[in-house]
Symmetry: C2
Subunit: 215 residues, 2 copies
């Protein structure tokens, strides 16, 4: 199934959030939801939501709203969630542990299936059922287990080396949590999950809202 | 200093990333940088970078590029980084530990100054110099220490309760790491730092690029 839709990056980042809310509604057996209700839950403008969802055709009905299960199915299709993506995590520190525990939430869409660390004290220990492996097992694991995503949770000083090893192992995408800008070849997709960025943009909005209140 | 600039949310999220790269350049005593060079480092289109930075006036010079230190100063001004924002972190698990260790990178812009947890086994322990406090100390700490940001790193099932307590304590903004959609009053800003979202959007692009290669 080929998709030729041009969906903006911002929309792609919002779709999994829509999906999360819709799944919660589906579990509670709610059958339809309006853009107003979604907007309230997500702190987003209902017009923005209607615009985002219009990318995928007209499936909201005026005055009735969206069919929850149909919308879930549609978003899963767009995000290719019926394919399972395997991920390797490198860096079995506190953040690595925390992320492995997310495996439960990821369900069958993305699964961390291998964990690596350079430290002899960590190799052989278990995190959420996965045994921490030495770095020299990385390449064969990625190739044998069809792993396409690498998650970097090592210190900033080590991150570029790990990225290089992932690239050499033939990975397609990297999610980098280390506070460092990494260089990878053009055909490897890299996303930076930067805690600092999140905090600074939050601080920006808080300050802005305070200034607006004081006017 | 009042700012009436309309800056899109996507740009606000990119500015701290620009700042990170610029700080790295400044440390290496690089004085000017072109949008091409920034684009390469950040995997962004140079035209996009010029557009983002044009929000703040014309300070790039054709053929020469941007003055690194001037751009740093300008972005710091826009993000109000000369104000220090204090943050409280709730949930002293693996993720909480990992985030406290980021304090070093945050420097004087945002500082986690207090950590809380409900578990008696964690109360009194130290994380990166901060003593974990019981939940009933939350409200007075927020008020006494002028804390304006709450960081939620508790399990999903506890997150709404913690958000309610933060709101009752008069917090201005929340950064939520729990995989749950939280409800807060309109005057409280909430950002969701969702690992699942990051991974799913990465998976989307990998799949899309694979399909494009196969065409």
């Amino acid at each position: 199934m080929k998709q030729q839709l041009k969906i903006s990056e911002a929309v792609v980042r919002r779709l999994p959030i829509y999906l999360q809310v819709l799944n919660e509604l589906s579990i509670r057996e709610v059958q339809t939801v309006s853009s107003q209700e979604l907007g309230q839950k997500l702190d987003l403008n209902p017009a923005q939501i209607r615009k985002d969802l219009a990318y995928f055709g007209e499936f909201g009905r005026k005055g009735i709203g969206y069919d929850v299960n149909y919308l879930i199915e549609k978003i899963r299709q767009i995000l290719n969630l019926d394919t399972t993506h395997y991920a390797a995590l490198i860096g079995a520190g506190n953040l690595g542990h925390a992320l492995c525990n997310y495996n439960t939430y990821l369900k069958d869409n993305v699964q961390i299936t291998a964990v690596f660390d350079a430290s002899p004290s960590k190799i052989g220990t278990k995190i959420n059922g996965l045994t921490v492996q030495p770095m020299d097992a990385l390449r064969s694991a990625i190739q044998d287990q069809h792993i396409r995503i690498g998650i970097i949770t090592v210190p900033a000083s080590e991150a570029q080396n790990v990225a290089n090893e992932l690239v050499a192992s033939g990975i397609d995408g990297i999610l980098n949590f280390a506070p460092a800008i990494l260089k990878v070849p053009e055909d490897v997709r890299i996303h930076h999950a930067n805690f600092t960025t999140e905090l600074l943009s939050l601080a920006y909005y808080i300050e802005k809202e305070r200034l607006e209140r004081d006017e």
